[in-house]
Amino acid sequence: MLTKVKEFSQKNLYTSMLLALLVLLLLFFSITKGGTLWSLGTWNGIFMQFPEYGVMTIGVMFCFISGNIDMSFVALGNFACILGVQYMAANVTEGMGNGQIIGVMLVAVLIVMVIGAIGGVINGLLISLLNIPPVMATIAMQLVWTGVSVAITEGKAVSGLPSLYTDIGHKMVFGFLPFPFLIFLIIFVISAFLLKYTTYGEKLYMIGTNIKAAKFSAINTTGMTVATFVLCDVICCIGSLLMVSTMASTKADYGTSYVMRCILILVLAGVLPDGGMGKISNVFLAIISIQIIASGVNMFPSMNTYYASLIWGGLLIIVLILSTKLTGNGFFVKKRKKSS
């Protein structure tokens, strides 16, 4: 039994670290907070809160595996949602039936996703066709989207959403499943399938490992990069849509901390921006851990919620040190250059 555990942990370094972390967290909060942790309310909260950035994390995961990074997704999502919310505010009128309102909502969602796709195409082309480093290209696009959003809203929050939409954030499906979590689950399953059972997933990992070799192997690397950013940004926009429903409004600078949080979660899960590695199951474990820390800190009334960031940061450093020590080589796997 013990040897099996050892073998598993050697093979699945990040999975075992994350499982250990999860157990430690649950133990710690059970001991200190006992019943509060295990109440239905706490877990409802956890499963309602993480989907908005959890969905975004899955989107960015695709970028990371392909060896890219996206810094623009929150700004892009906000911009897309501003247009979406304005559309809804303009088209939902007094006395409309629920069916009609849902129709308007679906069109708005479609608008948001199309804008996300356009943002993804721009990111992808800047990087693959013009060879701009991903960090630079997407930071520039982040500024562009934020600028456009501020310009059309004058920096104010946009509201006027139908209550049907703002209810989404706290709706329970079948009486127990939070609606945002259902959306997360659907995206998670589709993404897992894409990575594991399609040529797209196979090529994604190969491109992330060595894009030049992939190009020499007749892989359409430009197409792959653009497709990956489209996928990433559309998924991120779905995250933004969830965020809009909980905030009941949207604004140019909502959720900007999510950029760093998503990156933190991915690195914690062993999906490194070096590309070519990482498992989606670990991303799920990392998301849950991060949310448990946030919710756990909330259970201490005397503690400022910002302590959660402090713990996240500390945790990241510990994981980085551990992974370096345990794998023996540097944290970022050294890419072999020409050897003599």
Binding site: T209, N210, F216, S217, A218, S339
Partner: protein, 494 residues
């Protein structure tokens, strides 16, 4: 004082249980040129790194100027007067010649402020040692390889070098530059400095060296004066076998050419290149670095658009705009640099082999079963006897020869008409090299048209029934016959 400057006996070094060096003995006399020869992967570099202190030896004795040296560190090696000029020259391309020359001594002397006069004096002193003249303010990166090399030599001389080790210095030089380099080497030799010259080119070794040490598979198989060695002996010691007659004899060459290239030009890369290639034929393309051979190959693979000229494939004129299209036209390309262009090292062997044939392996809508990848990879593993117990291991776990077999499998699992091999056996050990050659022969006899691009003349001679020689982007000669003498190629190559 002993007759030798540096004497090494019984040097052993292993990496993860593999003997890189197995009881190597050799010695260098002061004021002589010693040539260290051997094929790729025979342990030359490891030996150099032990002398320069980069690696620590596992066993053996080192005696320098009569004093035994227990442990060599890079600093110790510099203090003793051992300087290595590596292939990449370790220069700062964005700094000027003067800065490059002066920076090391400035740092070792712990100077904190910049004094241009002092820098200039140091640089001038360095250049004067070999009477070499160059603009001190020129940017290092803009110099030719030959000039960079001479600057590197000057820099080495600043450290009162007694032994200068040059790691394959002639690889990227033209004939005239090689002559200039040899002149400098003789000059250094006359001033009493010992030179250790690493090379695998027969002609150069016989031209410049006094002594020679030949290594094979981590052992030194010959050490002694060059004069006592014939060229036949030399080749035998290098390869470890009598030259067997495994020259390729084409069996069924098609009448019609499968590939016809006419007046192909790419600005500043190659001009007016025309040739034909038939099924069942192995065509050699050779030339020095920068002769346009790689650029030509890349154009045929859709990476580098030709400015003018035509490419005709099976009688139809085609434009090859990307590797994807090249694949559709049944052209395969095994790139020059296996590690950066050929493989995803940190991915499984299986996924590397099937990377170019995912479309064939997938079902409708791009669905893919991982088992299909493994099955396909296992077929190639058996066929090419790739040395691994599990195709799920990373490609980085294999040796150079086996890695090259992966890259070959990747392309051969597609149906090909034309296969272009750029340096197919660079960094591949002798055994695997022969395997790969036989494999190529077999493929050609099955009707594949093959182009081998290589600067390894022996490889070209053994495998190709026709050889095109390129110089400065143009075809300067074409040789045909089943036994083309290497010397004939050397005649026209430079």
């Amino acid at each position: 004082m002993s007759e030798y400057l540096l004497q090494m006996t019984g040097i052993c070094k292993s990496f993860a249980g593999v003997h890189a060096l197995d009881h190597v003995n050799f010695a260098i006399r002061p004021g002589k040129v010693m040539c260290l020869a051997g094929e790729n992967g025979c342990g030359k570099s490891t030996l150099v790194k032990i002398i320069s202190g980069v690696y620590t030896r596992d066993e053996g004795e080192v005696v320098f100027e009569g004093n035994p040296i227990s442990k060599i560190t890079p600093a110790e090696a510099t203090r003793l007067g051992i300087q290595v000029i590596y292939q990449d020259l370790s220069i700062f391309p964005n700094l000027t010649v003067m800065e490059n020359l002066a920076i090391n001594s400035e740092i070792t002397e712990g100077k904190k402020f910049v004094n241009r006069k002092r820098w200039e004096a140091t640089a001038k002193e360095a250049l004067s040692k070999i009477g070499y003249e160059i603009d001190l303010q020129a940017k290092m990166g803009e110099l030719s390889v030959a000039d960079k090399q001479l600057v590197a030599i000057c820099r080495a001389l600043l450290f009162n070098a007694k032994l200068i080790i040059m790691d394959e210095p002639t690889t990227a030089l033209t004939k005239r530059e090689v002559d200039a380099l040899f002149k400098t080497v003789r000059q250094l030799k006359d001033s009493g400095i010992a030179i250790m010259f690493i090379s695998h080119k027969t002609e150069e070794i016989f031209e410049i060296s006094d002594d020679v040490c030949i290594m094979r598979n981590g052992k030194n198989v010959y050490a002694g004066p060059t004069a006592e060695l014939t060229r036949q002996d030399f080749t035998f010691h290098m390869t470890g076998r009598e030259l067997t007659d495994d020259h390729f004899v084409p069996k069924n060459i098609s009448k019609e050419p499968v590939l016809k290239v006419e007046h192909l030009c790419q600005k500043n890369k190659y001009q007016d290149v025309s040739f034909e290639l038939r099924k069942g034929e192995i065509l050699g393309v050779t030339g020095l670095l920068g002769s346009g051979r790689t650029e030509l190959a890349l154009s045929l693979f859709g990476l580098g658009k030709p400015d003018s000229g035509t490419i005709t494939l099976n009688g139809q004129e085609v434009k090859i705009t990307s590797p994807i299209q090249a694949q559709k036209l049944r052209i395969g390309y095994v790139p020059e640099d296996r590690l950066t262009e050929g493989l995803c090292l940190q991915q499984p062997i299986a996924d590397n082999i099937t990377l170019s044939s995912l479309k064939r392996l997938s079902k409708a809508m791009g669905f893919l079963r991982h088992q299909d990848i493994l099955d396909d990879a296992n077929i190639w593993k058996e066929k090419f006897s790739i040395a691994t117990d599990d195709v799920r291991r990373f490609a980085s776990t294999l040796s150079g020869g086996n890695q090259q077999k992966i890259v070959l499998s990747k392309w051969l699992s597609n149906d090909l008409d034309v296969l272009i091999l750029n340096g197919p056996t660079v960094g591949v050990d002798v055994g695997a090299k022969q395997d790969i050659h036989h494999l190529i022969h077999e493929l050609a006899n099955e009707g594949l048209a093959v182009i081998i691009i290589s600067d390894d003349l022996s490889e070209v001679v053994v495998n190709c029934s026709r050889v095109i020689v390129m110089r400065d982007g143009s075809i300067v000669g074409e040789l045909t016959g089943s036994d083309i003498p290497e010397e004939d190629i050397i005649e026209i190559i430079r």
